[in-house]
Symmetry: none
Subunit: 245 residues, 2 copies
Amino acid sequence: MPTATPQPAFVLVRPQMGENIGAAARAMWNFGLDRMRVVAPRDGWPSERAVAMASGAGRLLDEAGLYDDLAGALSDCTFVYATTARPRELTKPVLSPEHGMAEAAKRIAAGEKVAVLFGPERAGLENDDIARANTIISVPVNPAFPSLNLGQCVLLTAYEWMRNSGTVVHFEDDPRGDWATGREIEALAAHYEERLEAAGFFFPEDKAAGMKVNLRNLWSRMRLTRADVQMLHGIMRQMVRWKSR
Amino acid sequence: MPTATPQPAFVLVRPQMGENIGAAARAMWNFGLDRMRVVAPRDGWPSERAVAMASGAGRLLDEAGLYDDLAGALSDCTFVYATTARPRELTKPVLSPEHGMAEAAKRIAAGEKVAVLFGPERAGLENDDIARANTIISVPVNPAFPSLNLGQCVLLTAYEWMRNSGTVVHFEDDPRGDWATGREIEALAAHYEERLEAAGFFFPEDKAAGMKVNLRNLWSRMRLTRADVQMLHGIMRQMVRWKSR
């Protein structure tokens, strides 16, 4: 069963190698996409090689729609994006994957049925295919080395879908951090000051105040956890114990 | 010759298959990155398989730095990101590739030397590696299918670099910070480990390795300046001197 989340269909147009179809399935499912359509795969369907490569994402292949031609694959779609590596003769809006997927998310939220086309490995989509799309998506690559393969193009587009459709889990500052309180930091600072004073660290005397400020600044700047504070206490206690052995 | 554009170094830590090193080189160069460092590749160096896979990006392999250990690879770096698939026990900020690369671009614009670590194919980075990083980058994937491989992780990170490095933005982290390099942090960590070992701090023995990782993680997490490093060396030297009085 496909997931219930509304999402674009990714349409592989005349893909050649089964391995690449499998890799595309994995790339999609990594970012929560599971509606694949396959148009006239060169080596037939189902594809053993695709299944072998897809491993954990094999369900996408089982559930993929198979079509003889692109027109059939797009029959229920209201908006179509075509991914291309190079600019084409055809006059059409060209978006980055970022803006394309952000726009797609809005269209889908508004109830549209959206498809994204990916061309065959070697040559990419033909003008005939692109003519069926409303908008072009082009990945901005190094002009000196534009060599994305099918799986990579699917990966980046799926990634941008996840990033722009609000499904991204945003990480903040590590929430598991058991941060030390001001009181604990204060006790640590006092412990070090006391022991370092006894050990003759704050020398010469006219620099002592500045050295203490620097040390305190270090403790507060480094955002210590409780475990860190315990370790730092332990280090100092151990050095004191070692001396008195 | 590497391109003149300031950029992060991508560090492959103990990569296993040459093919994946080659794929990583292609992924980097697709987005204009060409500073690769390789730490202890399993199958030796240079790697024929890497060269065959890299095709048009072979120059990155010729110019890649080869290191025996991670400390060596990071010796000139002032800020280190570690890419991981899963959250770890180590407390550290976790950023998306988007936010991580935006931040990296700002750091580099401010003159810092930045590295991004990628772990070996099967197991990813170890805690020992992550302890040397300042911040974690985690790609937000489908929790039901988190299966990005090395090349894909490099691809997405490089893509975010390109997407985010065009925007020069205000740098919030204190730009006057005279940050310590990896070599200086490494020397500090070694100094503390040696002295604390002698003082009997790493006890009981079965906890010693974990304690050392936690201590190293603390040094890298707290973003030390050169002055901090000098002060911390001074603290330890003084405690040793104090004992021998």
